[in-house]
């Protein structure tokens, strides 16, 4: 199967800074990929390159097309929500549906109306009359009604309350995702998406710090919680990080012997957030 996104030596330079530094990337079809990184790590720059919204250096191919040259053609098979609330404020709901239907060959009005029926958004509303959460619902309804191969979500739920955020991802997973589709998500709220991800990419200072499937992450990374008595023994095994919580010592191991660790204390799969912190800090030291 061909890769949906293929990048070799992808670089994005602004006047003085390098936002994306010589990245190699391969994302196959049917995955939900989380692109995680601190502010200014180059996530958005990488996504903009992928979506044909910015120039770049290096080789980049999305669904076999060059985003820089073929943005319009690419957008027939790629959809994105970049940031919340970018729908034009003057437009009415029925107008945005009609325009998308006219311009997008793979849009289904029927589906969109079904999704909207579950919300409080009506066809006669202007976008500026809607709350931020409703705008996100509308945008998601439109995007989910387009039969594309790649969906890119850049902080799609920023500033929304927890109810909207939960519902957003539930809808995405239940009603939209299948093996033919690929979803690429960036967000700061890692804990909310980690259970839906199939792949994880950490990006730091424009470079990829980790690229792995969630299965591998669960295989390779082990969190160990021990009493202070066992802490020195655990330290001997070379953990990536150590922290203290309620008098217990928590270690994070990369590729350690699970049986051996079990003898020292409680063994768990680390959360993506903890792993993220460990790898980001590791990269600095």
């Amino acid at each position: 199967m061909n890769n949906v996104i293929e990048a070799r030596g992808l670089t994005k330079r602004y006047r003085k800074t390098i936002a994306v530094d010589n990245i190699d990337l391969e994302i196959p079809a049917g995955r939900i990929v989380g692109l995680i990184g601190p502010n200014g790590a180059g996530k958005t720059s990488a996504l903009k390159a992928i979506l044909g919204l910015a120039t770049y250096e290096g080789h980049l191919s999305v669904l076999g097309k060059s985003p820089a040259k073929d943005r319009a053609a690419l957008m027939e098979d790629v959809c994105f929500i970049a940031d919340v609330a970018v729908l034009p404020r003057w437009i009415r709901v029925w107008q945005v549906i009609e325009l998308t239907e006219d311009i997008h060959p793979k849009f289904s009005r029927e589906k969109c109306l079904q999704y909207l029926a579950k919300t409080k958004v009506t066809l006669d509303h202007r976008v500026k009359q809607l709350s931020k959460g409703m705008v996100a619902q509308l945008h998601l309804a439109i995007v989910m009604s387009i039969d594309v191969k790649l969906l890119v979500l850049d902080e799609p739920t920023l500033g929304l309350d927890i109810l909207f955020r939960k519902e957003f991802y539930t809808n995405l997973l239940n009603d939209y995702f299948d093996e033919q589709r690929t979803i690429l998500i960036t967000t700061h709220q890692v804990e909310e998406i980690e259970h839906i991800l199939s792949d994880l990419i950490f990006i730091q200072d424009g470079r990829i710090a980790l690229s792995s499937t969630m299965d591998d992450v669960q295989q390779n990374y082990i969190e160990l919680m021990v009493t202070p008595d066992n802490a020195p023994a655990a330290r001997e095994l070379g953990p990536m990080t150590e922290r203290e919580l309620f008098g217990r010592h928590i270690f994070l191991f990369d590729c350690a012997n699970r049986a051996q660790l079990k003898e020292l204390g409680e063994v768990r799969t680390p959360s993506v957030a903890d792993l993220f912190v460990a790898i980001m800090n590791g990269g600095e030291s």
Binding site: L53, A73, M75, V86, P88, I91, D102, H104, P105
Partner: protein, 316 residues
């Protein structure tokens, strides 16, 4: 084609106020003024005791003269529409690629499979064809309503509207000439339109300032150089931009024409490069001139720069 139509629809929806409400308001003002005139005329103390006497007087005038006056009057009704149309198009273009950058909805528009070229084309076509067409239709409808209102009054007062004015003044010819002058103006104004759309693509804020300042500076510079050469101001006070405006193929003033008659004029009859009488030939004379060719080249440069900028509008 379907996409272009959708984008044109978008422009219309977004600018309904400017494109549709504005000419309707002008039309309303015309009709209101007309109504007020008809109602109050009887109360004016002037040389005609009543509207009936005025109509009688007009009916006794030479048919040829009535025809000429009506022809000019019919055409001048368009001037208010044209003037406002000019402002509408100016500000529409100035905001065309600026507003969606400002409110970030450009990210939504760019997520649709419509190319930047098509987007710019839709903006330009809205300014060159859609807006003038809507203004023209409302101008014609206003004119027709005025003729109907007047006919009713004329009939009530016992005159024959057909012989009095309906059969005179060639309204169909006037309407066609006005429409043609609108479209000629769209082409003549292309360098300006290209400039405005370019400014809307790059201005970080206050596009009006960026649009007006460079031409004003250029104009002053031109004036100053001229002054240094001749030490007089009279020669070329209007400069390049003034000539461009005065030579416009849009009906905007009146003039004494070569046959001695006074009538509507194209542009402003202060320059002699082109004949200002309102004829199809004179409009084409401007469109197939070297000036126009230079204008088109300038417009092409502006539009290419616009496309280049629009492609990179989401860079940072």
């Amino acid at each position: 084609m379907k996409r272009l139509l959708a984008l044109l629809k978008r422009e219309f929806w977004e600018n309904k106020g400017a494109f549709r409400t504005t000419p309707l308001v002008i039309s309303g003002l015309f009709l209101l003024a007309m109504l007020m005139f008809l109602i109050t005329f009887n109360h004016f103390d002037n040389e005609f005791q009543s509207l009936k006497e005025l109509l009688r007087f007009i009916a006794q005038q030479d048919t040829d003269l009535r025809d000429k006056v009506l022809y000019a009057a019919n055409m001048e009704i368009s001037v208010l529409f044209s003037t406002v149309l000019g402002f509408v198009v100016f500000f529409y273009l100035l905001g065309s690629l600026y507003d969606d950058r400002k409110d970030r909805s450009i990210l939504f528009w760019k997520s649709l499979p419509a190319s930047d070229t098509l987007t710019i084309a839709s903006k330009l076509l809205s300014a060159m064809v859609v807006a003038p067409l809507i203004f023209w239709i409302i101008y014609v409808l206003t004119h027709i309503v005025i003729m109907l209102m007047t006919s009713v009054v004329v009939m009530v007062l016992g005159e024959n509207p057909w012989t009095l004015f309906l059969s005179l003044g060639s309204p169909f010819e006037v309407w066609s000439l006005v429409l043609l002058s609108y479209f000629s103006q769209s082409i003549w104004a292309l360098p300006l339109y290209g400039w405005l759309i370019l400014v809307s693509a790059f201005a970080p804020r206050i596009p009006l300032l960026f649009a007006v300042l460079p031409p004003v500076m250029l104009g002053v510079l031109e004036l100053w150089i001229d002054f240094l050469k001749t030490f007089t101001l009279s020669d070329n006070l209007f400069g390049l931009f003034g000539h461009w405006f005065a030579n416009s193929p849009l009906i905007m003033s009146g003039d004494q024409h070569s046959n001695g008659d006074f009538g509507p004029a194209l542009g402003i009859p202060l320059t002699s490069a082109y004949d200002h009488e309102v004829t199809v030939a004179n409009m084409f004379d401007r469109l197939f001139s070297t000036d126009m060719l230079i204008g088109l080249v300038i417009a092409a440069v502006f539009l290419s720069a616009t496309l280049w900028l629009r492609r990179r509008a989401t860079e940072s």
